[in-house]
Amino acid sequence: MITSSSTGDHDTEIPKSPLPSYSRIESLDVIRGVAVLGALFVSIWIFGGFSNQQQNQLLVISKGWNYRVYGAMELLLDGKMRALIAIVFGAAMIIFLNQTSKATVFAGELFIRRQMWLILFGLINAFVFLWTHDLLFHLGIMGILLFPFVRMSYRGLFIAAILTTLIYCGKNFWNYADKKDRYQKFLSVTALEKKYEKDSIALGAKGTVKAKDTLTKLEKQDKQAWEGTLANMKVDVKKDEGNIKAMHNLSYGKTWNHLLEKAQSREAQWTYQFGIWDLASMIFLGMALYKTRFFHNRFSSSKYFIIAIVCIAAGLLLGWFRLHYLQVSLHDFTKYIKGNAVPHDIFFPIERALLALGYACLLIFFLSVNFLSGIWTAFSSAGKLALSNYLLQSLICTIFFYGYGMGYYARLSQFQLYIVAAEVILVQLVLSVIWLKYYKRGPAEWLLHKLYYGHDAIPDNHTPGNANPPVTVIS
């Protein structure tokens, strides 16, 4: 899996011409800015209490503007912005490890240190700012896990991206297969129950002793397991009441207690089950794309445009099917599980990969033809301050929505939430542009840099984004 350098087979991935001399790759900053800010339109659901139950209810009703807008957001953004963040993260890994070239030996060490501090930032974001769906923790871990892969050839990386995407699909499938299994067990237990009923009636008529007619504990548990699954699937906005009440609590401590389990489950359960594949596939893709010089205008503008249109169209088609089957399964899950071999979300990993790739192409196309360039400059600034902006979003939104702050949780409509998100994004765009006029780095970026550089005597001018990367050192 990992190509060795001792056999010298790395030259294939080295760009033949020197990289463009501008210090940062503009397209990456723009994509990062768009992804981090765009993600807020989806995160705002969780920050603001637009719950799964409400979302599913809209899908069940399936008409009205509320439904259409939610559907559009779900199709266009949900999961896709995270994918874009991961793609850029993958590309940035290679840049980081290449550009600290003067101290190659140190590059790896610095990278690992940075990742460990990033994990800590993530923990703070999750357990101090109380943003349960923090992503920094996961990016920190994934960076360390995938670190050795930066030396792989782009072909290997593409294969890795495809494999992990397929495993992700498989995970969704197995998750569904478990439920199906539960249903089968339920069926056999209820059949048994009916038989016992019949038997005891028959025996009762004869007046003889009772036959074995009660379910064992395990059989009862099997029956309850499926009933529990069904109850979980049932759309009912009343289920949210307890959570809303808890989120309106004025005390920070109580909110902390209430959110602890959610945050831990996101960090442990979600990571192990889906997160690894969700992020690894896109990080691999980002590394591979970087090595093919995708972010350096490798293709002509029109080619980027065509790829963008094809990817987005294909992604939307898959997404449309996903939502359709989700609607079907929400109407009657038992019927769905009887009639369908695969879950509604089996192709979600491919859907969001296509859309993320399409968006990246579209942005590069816009940049190359100078379309809306003023806006992209602002997004590029936001992208340079991605970490600060990301943490600032947590701060603003938790204080605005949570009970210990202004307590708007579950008090705004879906549309109002988008307005809040748009306001936050606007503020961040403006702030980012202004900040970069005066400072080189964002506050969180500065702190992180300070922390991982420590007191090591490496001159500051070898920070990522400064040198013309001699890629050969790594590849």
Binding site: S4, S5, R113, Q273
Partner: protein, 447 residues
């Protein structure tokens, strides 16, 4: 904790930096301790391989003069957690050794990449051990993840390492403590509800719930149906065992990592790195120091272990009484016991090595330790094939103490197999595979 460690540590600092230790000697003592840890780990793992866990409940509640019970007592007091402790310590030391032994060469793969590749493969082997060899108690997965956090500490001072190690273990103790507090709160709510009931008040739904949840806890016993199901499944074919263990494996690798391994294993690894830096494992201290380590280690470790077993483990059979009596759970001392007892074991081994009374055993143990990775996986292979249904199907057929005959057999086999193998080959078979994968190049095998 810190203070009591100091006496055995202080005189150490000078001799260590006196120069590189004789390579042969150093590797030998480290391998011997690793070998002991590797063999010892089976003491704790064997019940997991071969018997339904309800056996613990019946031993605790049953007669306390049976062979089973005495076995449990000895294993719990003297060994529980300590062999994993030794193994973790040596793993931490090994991480330093790995980076130390390699020089950065221009054009070659930087050491940091080798380090992380190696651990990534270890992670993979851990997954194989759990999901293919079907050993649900696999530890390689955790080791690989913890190891990935150690790299940046490889040059840290022993004091910092010791501090961080103790910090990790303290967090583990804190978690135990928080868990105990929850139990106490549940008991408290129950008692309040009962008192209210006696006073003739109508219970609120919350109080009813509190009462029910405590009673469920207090009256929890292993369900006979569950035991039967577990035993049947474990004695079935490969697919059935795989499916049966799947949720447990996934749960362990998820929550075990998050709540347990990161503190338990990482803490010991850091302490192991500190001890290594002080020269403890490389036979660099004076005999007096090791004697001190032995006395302090056993002097504190054994009484604490005894306390945890007799008061804690047995006391918790009657959870209501236990919770009413103790504000703090005995298991907060678990890691204190582990650190000291591991230190005692390691010192004992060093002293035996120095006294040269059983050179043949030391040689065999060094071979076992040199092939630790192979031997660890081999324990999984032998034990799963002996106990699981697709092998000989002896699951839950032996009594608790009889399991230790199996341990003895495996020990003897590994003590003979390892030196013989190493007589002909340079590495153990799995070490060779691991190495080849890490360097992505077939490594020489024959001597």
């Amino acid at each position: 904790m810190d203070n009591s460690l100091e006496p055995s540590m202080q005189p150490v600092e000078t001799p260590v930096n006196a120069g590189p230790v004789q390579a042969a000697d150093r590797i030998k003592t480290i391998d011997i301790i690793r070998g002991v840890g590797l063999l010892g780990i089976l003491l704790m793992n064997i019940p997991g391989f071969g018997i339904d866990p309800s056996v613990y409940d019946s031993m605790r509640r049953g007669l306390h003069n049976t062979t089973d019970f005495y076995t449990l007592k000895v294993v719990s007091i003297f060994f529980e957690g300590t062999m994993r402790g030794l193994f973790s310590m040596l793993f931490g030391a090994g991480m330093i050794l790995f980076t130390m032994n390699k020089k950065e060469m221009p054009g070659a793969v930087p050491v940091v990449y080798l380090y992380y590749r190696r651990l990534l493969w270890l992670l993979f082997f851990g997954v194989i051990n759990a999901y293919v060899l079907l050993w649900w108690g696999d530890i390689l997965f955790f080791y690989a993840l913890c190891g990935m956090l150690l790299y940046t500490f490889r040059n840290s001072s022993p004091k910092l390492l010791l501090f961080l190690g103790i910090l990790c273990l303290s967090i583990a103790s804190l978690k135990t403590s928080l868990w105990h507090n929850e139990t106490r709160e549940s008991r408290h709510n129950y008692l309040e509800a009962v008192a209210a009931e006696k006073a003739g008040k109508k219970l609120t739904s919350e109080q009813k719930e509190a009462k029910a949840s405590w009673l469920e806890r207090e009256n929890w016993r292993p369900q006979p149906e569950r035991i039967e199901q577990n035993v049947t499944q474990m004695r079935s074919g490969y697919i059935a065992v795989f499916n049966h263990l799947l949720p447990r494996n996934a749960d362990d690798e998820t929550w075990g990592t998050y709540h347990w391994a990161i503190w338990d294993c990482l803490g010991m690894m850091l302490i192991g790195m500190a001890l290594f830096r002080w020269g403890f494992f490389s036979n660099n201290l004076t005999t007096k120091d090791y004697t001190m380590g032995l006395l302090v280690g056993y002097g504190i470790g054994i009484p604490v272990g005894w306390l945890i077993f007799t008061r804690g483990q047995l006391g918790m059979a009657n959870i209501a009484q236990y919770v009413d009596t103790y504000r703090v759970n005995h298991f907060v001392l678990y890691d204190v016991k582990r650190v000291f007892l591991s230190l005692g074991h390691a010192s004992l081994i060093m002293l035996i090595f120095r006294s040269r009374i059983v050179p043949w055993l030391m040689k065999a143990l060094a071979s076992v330790g040199q092939m630790a990775f192979t031997n660890y996986l081999m324990q999984s292979i032998i034990c799963t094939l002996y106990f699981h249904g697709y092998g000989l199907g002896n699951y839950n057929k032996l009594s608790y103490h009889q399991l230790y005959y199996v341990v003895l057999a495996v020990w003897i086999f590994q003590l003979i197999f390892s030196p013989v193998w190493l007589h002909y080959y340079r590495f153990g078979p799995f070490e060779w595979l691991w190495r080849s994968l890490t360097y992505w190049k077939k490594q020489p095998m024959k001597k």
